[in-house]
């Protein structure tokens, strides 16, 4: 944080001098600390225990989704009607049945691993599509203002003004509930989120001097958007995408749970919860573990997003490095109540 300029001693000849006040709200240009951020973002992550754990969990989930199903082989589909609804945490049937077995005697562990892949292969593309389309659209609308902005925002309003799950339910019922359709519908219903944020940020940037400067040099709109607007709004949008990942994953689970998402014989976490529901009284683990998997993943993504939001914001990063308050100092007024 640089010192305020030193034009403090005002010349007595009068003349309006707006001096930098002692306490001031310093609006930092967004891109400012990007350079030193890259080097230390990882170190900053290690400083926050919550965020580190969250990152590790997400990496593990990712690895499971990529390599898990191959490692599990046919375990997830091999039925054993003699060993149905086996309780978890028992080694009598081998490590594959550590989480118990389902109503057809299939390994819960193997099914969870396979479901990880299905769940992520719906959530990640959906988030990626809506992130890219929504952000570009929003930046474009915010840059050009005028009718492009108005029309874009109206479209976003229309999509957002109706419960997205209901829209998905209706649409999926029309176009059979395949994985591709789920990705598509989730992507479309979530585009407005990025559209609105990107538009707001991009529109706000138009008043910034560095964009003005670029424009005076005759830089073309697309180049300005690419070089000056996108890098600045990207951290916010990526943080948003992390949160959206949770939302989309929960939405897919809900759809699958309601019977209009992933269809058997494919399996996703939400579908597993639904399938276990009828055995709730006798085999609680059928619903419990897949739900737990959803929760752990979303919590991890949310924690990481919260950290990311602070870490990528130059104005807030200091919070992560602030030394703890010493004891035995006089408390300022704010600390009472």
């Amino acid at each position: 944080m640089s010192r305020p300029p030193r034009n403090a001693v005002q010349l007595p000849s009068g003349g309006r001098t707006v001096a930098p006040p002692g306490t001031e709200a310093i609006a930092l240009p967004r891109g400012e600390s990007v350079a030193d951020k890259k080097t230390s973002l990882f170190q900053l992550l290690l400083k926050d225990r919550f965020a580190t754990v969250a990152a590790v969990v997400l990496v593990l989930v990712g690895l499971t989704a990529v390599f898990g199903p191959t490692l599990m082989g046919d375990l997830s589909t091999r039925q054993d009607l003699g060993a149905t609804n086996r309780p978890p945490f028992s080694f009598s049937d081998g490590w594959a049945f550590i989480l118990g077995s389902d109503s057809l005697g299939r390994s819960m562990l193997a099914r969870l691993v396979v479901a990880t892949q299905t769940t992520l292969s719906v959530a990640l593309p959906a988030v990626a599509i809506s992130l890219v389309l929504g952000s570009l659209w929003g930046v474009w609308a915010g840059y050009h203002r005028g009718w492009r902005e108005t029309v874009s925002m109206r479209i976003a309003d229309v999509i957002m003004s109706f419960p997205s799950l209901l829209l998905a339910v209706v649409i999926l019922y029309v176009f059979s509930p395949s994985a591709a359709n789920i990705v598509l519908i989730l992507a479309v219903t979530r585009i407005p989120i990025y559209l609105r944020t990107a538009r707001a940020e991009s529109a706000e940037l138009q008043s910034r001097t560095f964009v003005d400067a670029a424009r005076t040099f005759g830089t073309k709109p697309n180049a300005i958007i690419r070089r000056h607007v996108i890098p600045v709004v990207l951290p916010t949008l990526l943080t948003l995408a992390t949160i959206e990942f949770c939302y989309v994953m929960l939405a897919e689970s809900s759809l699958s749970f309601l019977g209009i998402g992933i269809q058997p014989p494919d399996v996703s976490w939400g579908l597993m919860v639904a399938q276990g529901r009828q055995y709730l009284q006798t085999a609680w683990w059928l619903s419990f573990f897949p739900g737990l998997a959803i929760m752990v993943t979303t919590v991890a993504a949310n924690v990481l997003a919260a950290w990311l939001r602070i870490a990528t914001d130059p104005a807030q990063r200091w919070r992560l490095t602030l030394p703890r308050k010493r004891l035995l100092v006089r408390l300022p007024v704010k600390e009472v109540l």
Binding site: A8, Q10, S13, P20, P21, G22, R330, V333, K334
Partner: protein, 340 residues
């Protein structure tokens, strides 16, 4: 919610009483770079009916000193030493809760930027009346009557019709008047004015300063004026404390300090005033810039820019030495200054 009316004597009716005595005030700042001393061993007195100016460049700690006196430091700053005696009570020793009784009736503060200092969602009448509701337990209706009185007192035209307006519906000068009205609502002994005119244009500045002067005379308040404006100090203040990098380097009556500065920094400031500079001539200024807080040297805080600097200045920090005639200076070579 409602604080019992405080039974402290009202503002004194005569001038030149000592109202505020600040002794050895230290303020520390917790930053990512570690704990920094932002205000170091600052002492001064404010007398009733008189104006004391805290003068210095931005970042010198003058505003922080004022906030420490008023008990309004940001959470990252703490008073870590010294006393702030106002009307016989050491405010620095009070708990934040005990302080509430003094905020308003004893001590008022005028902030710099009236637009952000006023709460945008309440009418000015509500905000003006708040002090009466808090300290005197008045009803909303009675507080509004008081608010209208106050608005009249600070020269806002048609107060009856404007009392229900919102801050954003006033001009900058009027907003500043409203802020001043809030600060003097309960006739405090001490009024702190933290750069009250920096955000205003020149003609309005003069009106606001006149208002402050009139209010001071009317109710014999002690005024502490925080400013970076030499001319303002010369016109408005009786005494001045010049601050540099968190330290008071020179104090005394304004006329004497400005007439014969004893500290090289004060001298440098005065020299940079373009009194008889012709067109094309260079303006004088002090070479270099103030040290950053985490790089304040061991010896004299001004050593890096001082024309008189010697080895002793780098080794020993001079303390503020009173000369017995109402002035004090923190410099090893103040006598030599006149000979330069």
């Amino acid at each position: 919610m409602r604080t019992a009316t405080v039974s402290v004597p009202r503002a004194s009716m005569i001038d030149d009483d000592v109202v505020l005595t600040v002794t050895g005030l230290n303020v520390d700042l917790r930053t990512p770079k570690g704990v920094l001393r932002a205000v170091n061993d600052v002492s001064f007195e404010a007398l009733s009916g008189r104006t004391l100016a805290l003068l210095g460049e931005s970042g010198c700690g003058k505003s922080m000193t004022a906030k420490a006196v008023a008990g309004l430091l940001d959470p990252v700053a703490d008073v870590t030493g010294g006393t702030v005696v106002l009307g016989g009570t050491d405010l620095a020793a009070l708990t934040p809760k005990e302080r509430l009784a003094y905020a308003g009736p004893e001590l008022g503060i005028v902030f710099q930027d009236a637009l952000t200092a006023l709460n945008p969602v309440y009418t000015v009448g509500t905000q003006l009346g708040e002090a009466f509701r808090i300290h005197e337990g008045l009803s909303a209706k009675a507080a509004k009557v008081k608010a209208i009185e106050l608005m009249r007192r600070v020269g806002i035209p048609e107060p009856e019709s404007r009392v229900d307006s919102f801050p954003h519906q006033f001009s900058g000068g009027m907003r500043q008047r409203i802020l001043i009205a809030m600060a003097v609502a309960l006739n405090p002994r001490l009024l702190i004015a933290d750069e009250p005119t920096t955000a205003l244009d020149v003609t309005v500045q003069a009106q606001i300063m006149k208002l402050l002067r009139d209010l001071r005379t009317e109710s014999h308040m002690a005024v502490v004026l925080i400013t970076h404006d030499l001319a303002l100090v010369a016109e408005e203040a009786d005494t001045v404390a010049v601050m540099y990098a968190g330290n008071v380097v020179e104090t005394g009556p304004v006329k004497e300090v400005f007439g014969t500065p004893h500290h090289p920094y004060t001298r440098g400031l005065l020299d940079s005033v373009p009194a008889d500079v012709g067109r094309g001539q260079d303006l004088t200024s002090i070479a270099g810039s103030p040290p950053e807080l985490h790089r304040i040297p061991d010896g004299c805080v001004y050593q890096s820019r001082c024309p008189l600097v010697q080895d002793i200045c780098r080794a020993i920090r001079p303390t503020l030495e009173p000369d017995g005639a109402g002035r004090a200076v923190a410099c090893h070579f103040s006598e030599e200054l006149d000979n330069v």
